[in-house]
C-alpha cells in the first residue's frame, strides 16, 4: 500500500461532494467547508503472513464553520448522514480504489478543531483501509 496514493484516492472520493474543498493532506490553512485526509493512526503491517496485507485507520477531518453557528451544525449533520449526496460515508465507501483493496468509514466524532489559529466545528471520520502489503 502506498499511503500517499490511498490519501489521494480518498480525496478523489470526497471530491464528489459538491461544495466541499478537499485537501488529501494536512493543510495549514483552510476555507470551510473543507476536508483533510490525515496520516494513518495507526498503520498496522503484517495482517497476514508474507507481507500479504497491511491495514490502517486514516482520519478524515471535515471542517464546516464557526463552532457556535447553527448553519455549521446543519452542514455537519449533512456530512454525517449515512447516505445521500453530502454523506462522507457514502462518498468514501462508494469510492473507486486501486491503491488499496477496501475503504470503509468506521465512525465519526464531532468536535472543535483549530487550524491556523482559527477554531472550527468539525467532524473526524475514521476510515478503515486494507491493502496489499507487498
Amino acid at each position: 500500500v502506498n499511503i500517499a496514493d490511498v490519501m489521494d484516492e480518498l480525496g478523489t472520493a470526497l471530491d464528489t461532494i459538491t461544495g466541499l474543498r478537499v485537501h488529501p493532506y494536512s493543510a495549514d490553512r483552510v476555507t470551510p467547508p473543507a476536508a483533510m485526509v490525515l496520516w494513518p493512526d495507526p498503520l498496522d503491517y503484517d495482517a497476514t503472513f508474507a507481507r500479504g496485507m497491511d491495514r490502517m485507520t486514516l482520519p478524515v477531518v471535515v471542517l464546516v464553520g464557526r463552532v457556535d453557528a447553527r448553519t455549521a451544525r446543519d452542514l455537519a449533520a449533512k456530512y454525517l448522514d449515512g447516505s445521500g449526496t453530502s454523506s462522507v460515508k457514502a462518498a468514501i465507501d462508494g469510492g473507486t480504489y486501486s491503491a488499496c483493496d477496501t475503504a470503509r468509514t468506521l465512525s465519526a466524532t464531532v468536535g472543535a478543531y483549530s487550524v491556523a489559529g482559527v477554531t472550527y466545528l468539525g467532524v473526524e471520520f475514521q476510515v478503515d483501509i486494507t491493502g496489499q502489503g507487498a
Binding site: 497476514t48 477496501t102 486494507t130
Partner: protein, 133 residues
C-alpha cells in the same frame, strides 16, 4: 538461539502458497497413550502409541483465483500435501511436510470487519521435518 517472529511464516496447501492470505497456523501434534499400570503400582504408568495431529489455518478472505476459497473449498474431503515453514524461507530453517485430510473450510463474514476464513486439517501419516537447503 533466538526468538522467532511469525510474520515470515510460509504455508502451502496442495502446492498453492496461501501465506499472503493467512494470519495464523495452529500445528498440533499428539500421541496415543496406553495405560500399562499393573497390580502393585501406586501410580499409573503409560507407554506411547501412534502419533496423530491436526492443523488449523486461518486468515483473511481473498476473491482471487489463488485465494483461500478457490483453493481450499474444492479440496474438502481430499488428502493433499501441507508444507509448513514456521520460520519462513531460508537455508537451515525447518520445513514440516505432511499429508492432510481437509476436514472443514469455514468463512466468517462480520458486518464490521473483513471476511475471514478457516480450514481444519487432519494430519494423515508421518510428518517429515527437514532443513531447507
Amino acid at each position: 538461539m533466538a526468538f522467532i517472529h511469525g510474520k515470515g511464516t510460509v504455508v502451502t496447501l496442495a502446492a498453492t502458497d496461501l501465506s499472503a492470505f493467512t494470519n495464523n497456523v495452529a500445528f498440533n501434534r499428539s500421541a496415543d497413550s496406553h495405560d500399562t499400570t499393573t497390580f502393585g503400582k501406586s501410580a499409573h504408568t503409560y507407554q506411547g502409541g501412534l502419533k496423530d495431529g491436526t492443523a488449523t489455518i486461518t486468515g483473511i478472505y481473498d476473491d482471487g483465483a489463488s485465494g483461500p476459497q478457490a483453493i481450499i473449498e474444492p479440496l474438502l474431503g481430499t488428502v493433499v500435501e501441507l508444507v509448513y515453514k514456521p520460520e519462513g524461507t531460508g537455508t537451515g530453517k525447518p520445513t514440516k511436510t505432511v499429508n492432510v485430510l481437509v476436514t472443514a473450510y469455514e468463512e466468517t463474514a462480520p458486518v464490521a470487519d473483513m471476511i475471514a476464513w478457516s480450514a481444519s486439517l487432519q494430519l494423515t501419516d508421518s510428518v517429515a521435518l527437514t532443513s531447507q537447503a
